[in-house]
């Protein structure tokens, strides 16, 4: 094997991919039409779509229809380091929203996800089941030397969230 082919293949250090599934259920005292609208409307999502008041979310693009794509940036207030691309795959009004999501930071992909939101009538309210099937990479600093100083960015976000 020549030095050249070693050099070429060495570029492709492959970070490991780890899978997980997150399932959350909630019941809201609101009709399915209102809950559906809260997911459909980017204005509504700007209000509720961040986990805490310390996290900011901005949409560069929003297109809620099958095949449409949202592009948003989020992160600790004033430092929107994460880029989220959401592609809507299946939308059944008041029943179901299926999307795929890619989260990246500085051009480096952090995770891929398949997100299903099911809406079920529950008395006068709505039960939702959110299933987030996520494949996430680790070892980002290994493939991203010049951004080593940002190795703790996710920890900073976590710290922000805990405040």
């Amino acid at each position: 094997m020549t030095e050249r082919s070693v050099e070429q293949s060495a570029i492709a250090i492959v970070p490991p991919l780890n899978h997980d599934t997150i399932v959350l259920e909630r019941t809201y005292e609101a009709k399915p039409a209102r809950v559906f609208e809260a997911f459909a409307s980017p204005e509504a999502r700007m209000r509720w779509g961040v986990p805490s008041a310390h996290v900011e979310l901005e949409y560069d693009q929003a297109d809620f229809r099958i095949g449409g794509m949202d592009v948003s940036r989020c992160g600790p207030r004033g430092n929107l380091v994460y880029r989220v691309e959401t592609r809507y795959r299946d939308i059944v009004p008041q029943r179901r929203i299926i999307s795929t999501e890619i989260v990246s930071e500085g051009g480096i992909t952090l995770c891929f996800a398949l997100i299903t939101v099911e809406l079920l009538e529950a008395g006068s309210g709505t039960r939702i089941i959110l299933t987030d099937q996520v494949g996430a990479f680790g070892g980002r600093s290994m493939i991203d030397g010049h951004r080593a100083g940002h190795a703790g960015a996710l920890d900073n976000l976590a710290a922000e969230l805990r405040r």
């Binding site: 094997m1 030095e3 070693v6 050099e7 293949s9 060495a10 492709a12 250090i13 492959v14 970070p15 490991p16 780890n18 997980d20 997150i22 959350l24 909630r26 809201y28 005292e29 609101a30 009709k31 209102r34 809950v35 809260a38 509504a44 209000r47 509720w48 779509g49 961040v50 986990p51 805490s52 952090l110 995770c111 006068s124 939702i128 959110l130 987030d132 996520v134 996430a136 990479f137 680790g138 070892g139 600093s141 290994m142 030397g145 080593a148 190795a151 703790g152 996710l154 920890d155 976000l157 976590a158 969230l161």
Partner: protein, 117 residues
């Protein structure tokens, strides 16, 4: 470990060499013995052992001798980071769904406000 600058220096130093990067690349696909690591590299076993020593010092790779075979693998610390990342993602969803509940309560039309229609 990733937050210790001295450790980071060692890591990037370890990855500065194409042969060592190739070893890490091979190990990212799964554990390997020293001779398996050496085989595609056109390197002597003792050279591979030297590179391996550097990779171990950097904390990127760990090795374990079982019988006569030394098996190397990627240090699973990176996996721990990912697990933490995923649990933060879960917490993030929980926070968002809580806020969705608040949002729905705040924007409830008159006839829903009593909780019944």
């Amino acid at each position: 470990m990733l937050h210790d600058p001295a450790q980071l220096d060692l890591m990037f130093q370890a990855l500065a060499d194409p042969g060592r990067r190739r070893m890490v690349e091979r190990l990212s696909r799964g554990p390997a013995s020293v001779s398996e690591l050496a085989e595609p590299l056109d390197m002597s076993l003792s050279a591979v052992m030297q590179h391996l020593h550097l990779l171990e010092t950097s904390g990127l790779v760990v090795s374990e001798k079982i019988g006569r075979v030394r098996t190397c693998r990627i240090e699973p610390k990176a996996l721990g980071d990912v697990e933490r990342w995923i649990s933060e993602r879960r917490r993030s969803w929980e926070g968002r769904l809580d806020r969705l509940g608040d949002f729905l309560a705040e924007t409830a039309p008159g006839e829903e406000k009593g909780g019944k229609t």
